[in-house]
Symmetry: C2
């Protein structure tokens, strides 16, 4: 393939990573200078790799201003294994229940895994609304007796994001932040356990970051598989068994970039807000040609899901976009349409390039098609 | 660090990979030419990545001459998660037992994970012999009523390897081949389930290959976490949740190398036998200066564990070796000493270089120290 344009990657994940990180990782595959060996040939028990994990942990602590009674883990198995591990930790073999929300594709995937481990209540489902909005606080009948309350901060598929803290004081708060972790500041002390797989904002697929408060460890029942038991991983500082060494090293490179080049989470959030604002403005000024799926108040800064007037137009849009070096814009297989993911490493330049293409594509579209469209306000 | 010598890597894992594989992986981190994107930014749901998994599976099938009723999976969680998944598949919530062997560090680690899921019998333990030998068939009271029989084909830490098939006809045979999978031909139809993490002979840490016969899927009880339930992974052809895309791609590159450059498993085994023979000959001709840990009959072709007359000499040996570009020779933290791992990608040239160093080191050692040694025959 001959490529004339630098690619702009809007993939929903595995997604864009900073070019400097990719170059450093590429060099490390040939040789890690401090060690004199290729990255993939270095023992996970070496001092060098221990230092990699320790530095990655230190930067996460620094970025989140994490108190000492929180642990930072780098694990395997994705969010899917965490769906099980969280529920097993608090519910297995106990007469308790937990409160969950069903706000989109991923929280729906989470529920059956949790149900295998114990009793859960689903407080709210967005299914009737086609997962186009998130609940308000008054819609949630949160129980003070729940073992924990679980929600997903950003629904990657539908492009819905909570812009406030959910839950009750006095009930453990567990949050899947897979698609917005380290994209904005969070008040981490409000959470008992946070998990996030790496392949959105943090690094390659195959690493999952877990942050948990020390007292969560007291809840772990005996008899869990070690890969679902947080205690040995805390004790061995993420090197209980052989961890995905390449993935954790790349996560470290991304963390250094976030701290040193971006300047931390406040700065990152500002950039992410600007990117999302420009793209949503393009949707809103399109006279309904581009129709956002999410209710305005719940719009995600990370994933912008939208439709065009017809499936045919969506197909041409995706094809022409790719021809112009704009990649990864296909909507999720569960709902189709278009989705632009604006993770940390997606540049403002890429977003501007996308907006320019969208304006051109709309201008070139058959006006009779455009006229058929509903006004975007009807979407909520 | 200034390096004057090309490194020779004898790490027990993550270990040496073929230089051509590392170079191709390094380039793919910048751009995969067929896609026009960096490897880490390509969706796991893309056609390209589906083709990567399909080709990797096809090569494994080809190398092992795998019948159609066997599945090939690329999973997360290492052998440790398989310790749990295997036992949960056959034993959880059932009045059954399985037969296990305790032949070294790794099979010992496996036992507590299996016990969490059901009843197991340990037929034989090498503990009394310091895990210096493997059992003969007459020492094993295998039960025809066991749900399955589990063993580890190569004990990485101690350097012990079974050079025959174990188990009873009519009893399911499950084998952890983490450290010798695809290093030699195997009669795969004798096995119901084989698992092997990648970081020895197959690729980077973070990928685990599982091969299972179709009828194993009927044994899976309801209620297992999806990451321990083989069925969804078979159904989704290893893309149930986001798989470790980088790791699987590198595994594909290694598999191509094994098929195209090495010429398959018979050729690979011949090379591995030659490498091991040269190193063991060095041990055996050292008048007890280098003392192999493993009984001769059970010597591993993959991991050669040995001691020197004193811990001080072992320290100098490791230090001088590293100065000469010979890396990863430290024995496992559980037993110390020296260990040279001779995985598929370790070249004959590297082994010859190691043997030369060992001869020089012995010649330079204080003769009075050498005289104190026991003859190697005493070790068994």
């Amino acid at each position: 393939m001959t490529r004339t344009l630098r690619p702009h990657n809007f993939s929903a994940g595995p997604g864009e990573l900073p070019p400097g990180v990719l170059e450093a990782a590429s060099r490390a595959l040939i040789e890690v200078p401090e060690v004199g060996l290729p990255l993939l040939g270095i023992s996970h028990r070496s001092k060098w790799f221990g230092d990699v994990v320790a530095e990655a942990e230190a930067i996460v602590r620094d970025l989140l201003d994490l108190p000492k009674n929180y642990h930072v883990l780098f694990l395997q198995g994705g969010a899917t294994l965490q769906f099980s591990a969280v529920a097993a930790t608090f519910l297995r073999d106990r007469n308790r229940f937990a409160d969950y929300l069903e706000t989109g594709y991923w929280s729906r995937k989470c529920l059956p895994e949790a149900r295998k481990e114990g009793r859960i209540r689903v407080l709210w489902s967005g299914e009737a609304d086609g997962y186009s909005r998130l609940p308000s606080d008054v819609e949630l009948d949160l129980s003070p007796d729940a073992a924990y309350f679980h929600y997903i901060s950003n629904e990657t598929v539908e492009g819905l994001q909570f812009h406030r803290l959910l839950g009750l004081e006095g009930v453990r708060r567990v949050c899947d932040m897979s698609s917005d972790f380290l994209s904005r500041p969070i008040d981490v002390q409000k959470f008992d356990l946070i998990y996030a797989h790496a392949q959105k904002n943090l690094g390659p697929a195959g690493v999952t970051v877990v942050i948990l408060r020390d007292d969560v460890l007291e809840e772990v029942p005996e008899g869990l598989p070690s890969m679902m038991d947080y205690r040995p991983h805390v004790e061995m500082r993420s090197i209980f068994n052989t961890p995905p060494t390449f993935g954790i090293y790349v996560v470290l490179l991304v963390l250094r970039w976030l701290r040193d080049e971006v300047g931390g989470l406040v700065a990152m959030n500002r950039i992410n807000e600007t990117k999302a604002a420009r793209l949503y403005a393009m949707l809103d000024r399109s006279d309904g040609f581009y129709r956002g799926r999410a209710a305005r108040i719940d719009r995600s800064l990370m994933n912008v899901s939208f439709n065009l007037p017809t499936p045919e137009l969506e197909r041409s849009f995706l094809q022409e976009a790719q021809g112009q070096g704009l990649f990864g814009l296909e909507g999720h297989r569960s709902c189709g349409g278009v989705r632009a993911s604006l993770y940390n490493a997606v540049s403002l330049e890429s977003v501007d390039r996308l907006c320019r293409f969208m304006a051109e594509f709309r201008d070139a579209a058959d006006p009779s098609v455009v006229d058929q469209t509903r006004p975007v306000e009807a979407v909520v």
